[in-house]
């Protein structure tokens, strides 16, 4: 795009050089009153010191904030890679292991970032409590913090979407598999799946609670699988089955193994989604960004408006005075 602005920085710099040379003489001899040395002298000494002192302490917030920002960006990249992997997967060429590893990695990242964010908030609180920060500085830190929170929330949401799509894919693949394979296979994945579950399916509980946060595709799926599982659980949930199952597992044909992996993947994905939704709602309660969506820059003009109003009313009074004089003149002259 053609540049539509002019950079005057170079001009400014050369101007300052020129002025420095001209004024350089007076800077040395402070007695000469040319460049107001009385104010210049103390200013030249204090800023560097103040700058240096403030430098070390104040930038910790900034350093941490930029690290977190960078972390969120990297995580976003990973999530898009995950999305691509999930899209690529077909019925037989499913990089389950990769996807699971990547998902775990991303989940850890997000949890770590979450922790880092709360650390950041503690730092901010400490620094504010110290009292050497101006109110503008506090506003700035709060805004940075909110921004990072919302970015993390966005990344979490993105991950959730990817995982949801992935779940749908797996379900679709499963359905297709069921269409092609015989009955024997149909029972097994869920049977084995049921036995590896030591707790009630997490999605059936938490998904109801977070109905707002999660896409509505999830509860029906969860409920559907859950209802089948519960039936099996009720019938066969005894510890002895575990040993039986483990022996069985070794002789299970490769197809069942594959199907079991798929089921495990499904399970993992759904539990991850539920954890994420937990984080999601946690973040959402912290961020209060609703009001900012439609705010204009010239909202909240209360203070300046007050001044304007004051000036305007005094002007109006003045005008009334003038016009009343004129009116009186009018009536007197026109009789």
């Amino acid at each position: 795009m053609a540049s539509t602005y002019r950079d005057r920085t170079a001009e400014f710099r050369s101007l300052s050089e020129t002025l420095k040379k001209i004024g350089g003489i007076t800077a040395v001899h402070h007695q000469q009153p040319e460049n107001d040395p009385a104010s210049a002298k103390p200013l030249t000494t204090t800023p560097p010191a103040a700058v240096a002192a403030a430098n070390s302490s104040r930038s910790e917030f900034n350093k941490k904030a930029s690290r977190i920002g960078l972390g969120i960006q990297e995580t976003s990249h990973k999530i898009s890679r995950l999305a691509q992997l999930a899209k690529r997967s077909t019925m037989f060429d499913d990089p389950i292991v990769e996807i699971q590893e990547l998902t775990a990695l991303i989940k850890n990242d997000i949890t770590a970032l979450n922790v880092a964010l709360s650390d950041l908030q503690t730092i901010q609180n400490i620094e504010i409590a110290d009292g050497k920060y101006s109110e503008d500085r506090v506003g700035h830190s709060t805004a940075v913090f909110d921004d990072l929170k919302s970015k993390l929330m966005g990344a979490t949401k993105q991950l959730q979407n990817v995982l949801t799509t992935r779940t749908e894919h797996i379900k679709a693949h499963e359905n297709r598999k069921q269409m092609f394979s015989k009955n024997a296979l149909r029972e097994n994945p869920f049977q084995h799946h049921a036995k590896t579950v030591t707790e009630p399916p997490p999605w059936s509980n938490s998904s109801n609670g977070d109905a707002n946060a999660q896409p509505s595709a999830l509860p029906p799926i969860g409920v559907q699988v859950g209802s089948q599982l519960r039936r099996r659980l009720a019938v066969e949930n005894t510890p002895s089955q575990h040993m039986e199952m483990s022996m069985l597992q070794q002789v299970v044909p490769r197809q069942e193994n594959y199907a079991q992996n798929r089921a495990v993947a499904l399970h993992n994905v759904e539990s991850t989604i539920s954890e994420l939704s937990g984080i999601f709602t946690h973040l959402a309660t912290m961020v209060a960004q609703q009001g900012e969506l439609a705010i204009r820059i010239d909202d909240n003009m209360d203070e300046s408006l007050a001044n304007v109003e004051g000036a305007r009313s005094s002007l109006l009074r003045h005008l009334n005075q003038i016009s009343s004089n004129r009116y009186m003149q009018n009536t007197m002259t026109s009789g």
Binding site: A2, S3, T4, Y5, D147, Q224, E292, S304
Partner: protein, 614 residues
Amino acid sequence: MALNLRQKQTECIIRMLNLNQPLNATGTANEEVYKILIYDKFCQNILSPLIRVKDLRKHGVTLYFLIDKDRKPVHDVPAVYFVQANQSNVQRIIADASRSLYDSFHLNFSSSIPRPLLEDLASGTLSSDSIQRIAKVHDQYLEFVTLEDNLFSLAQKSSYVQLNDPSAGDREIEEIVERIVTGLFSVLATLAVVPIIRCPRGGPAEMVASALDQRLRDHLLSKNNLFTEGGSFASSFQRPILCIFDRNLELSVAVEHDFRYRPLVHDVLGLRLNRLSVQGEKGGMKSYELDSSDPFWVANGLLEFPEVAVEIEAQLNKYKKDVDEVNRRTGGNDGAEFDGTDLMGNTKHLMNAVNSLPELTERKQVIDKHTNIATVLLSEIKERSLDSYAKKENDMLIKGAIDRNELLGVLRGKGTKMDKLRFAIVYLISLESINQSEVESVEAALKESEVDTSAFQYVKKMKSLNVSMASANSASRNNIVDWAEKIYAVTAGVKNLLSSDRQLALTRTVEALMEGKPNPEIDNYLVFDPRSPKSSSGSSSHLKGPFKEAIVFMIGGGNYVEYGSLQELVQRQQPVRHVIYGTTEILTGVEFIEQLTQLGNKMGFGSSTAAPSH
């Protein structure tokens, strides 16, 4: 390539917010930098219609302040300043830098900072030893306010008064012309076009046109000019035409009552910078945003008011139907049965419903907003019988005469004092020849209603001097279109209130200029081409050839009536053309009358010779 001024200005501002670094694909700078934005009042008016706070946040702006506000230090953060280049701002910047409020200062001036001020800045920061904090100094050439894609204003107050002031000296006039030229130059720089300039002879239009031409020529000669169009032989088909007019071309438009939605909202309710405050239905003031993101406003802004009400009704019914549809789909299946096949269908419906909820809510909000606005408008219209004003003024301007009793009836009837004054002035302008006794009775009626007649006197004086404000009428009389208007006059009584039948002189002229065919009205208009060498003055044919794009600029004040009229013109044309409309400031009828009143006072009409008021 349609010129979209709003988009271009927004791009420039976003680039500025990113510290003038290149943007990557997602539209944010590669480096994550949090910054503070500081602006002055003028630049706040530039920014508010274009950028919301959430956009600021997206580009890393955490805090935003007025430069005059008392600000506290935020040490390790860069600050972006976007201010006008004047002495007080420069002093404030020097003070801020001396106090080391921020880590680094990126200064952006809305137009070019003159050399003396730059020197002041340098010496000021040097003496407080804060010059190293000034990271960048930029001229942004953004000194105009864009309200819509094709509507801009220079936000320069009272230019009509200053230019027509009988007591104004040469130097003052030159200063005003200079300011207007600076504003127009910013617009052209942002669009990155060098247009062909045309204007009528004489008056402020010619002054501005030749000054702008000179400015562009000088600029194009300099090394890194801002206009990187390919080659000087680009056919004029690609270059737009810039038509500069003066308000006196057609005074009636600035004064008359119009009955279309957008002009009504602006004139009656006071639309400012795309923002409106009205009394809410439950009491209390409500503030609304009316810009290109409001689909109803965009679609129906040019409709007459009764049609707008009908349209609101239609939208409301459509909304109710859609809500019922959603309810039916989701409410019926309350999830009692969960067999596999139906479930996916249900969930899809549920998902669609959930996804459509935000859209439905938004539609309802828009409908509510316009219902509220229309209700308030309606009560104003009824109270002041604005529909009658609009119709009768339209009749007067078409026919050139009005029945005396009708005239006096209006002046004694409903309406504010300003309404009556405006009506009287439109009457004056529409007259072909001044009927002295009628005029006197009008004046008497005005005085009865205690209306300050300075503006009326001023217009009367101007008319008697045969100033070209009457040209709108006389031109229409002598035109080929004359006979068609006579037919209109006959059937006017039968027609509904359709003020769009009368074409504004401005629109007619712009159409002629864009078409480029010989036309007595515009043949003696001047031509300036800043790209051509000075010797070949504008008789080359390509300079007058048909133009697909035009920028129309009105000196002295414009309004939504003119804007709407130009938009209607381009929608009618085949092939579709494109017009950007701009003015020194957007004025309501009342505001313009106030300027006329000031002029009347300066000329000694009104009660006493007033003190200079700018």
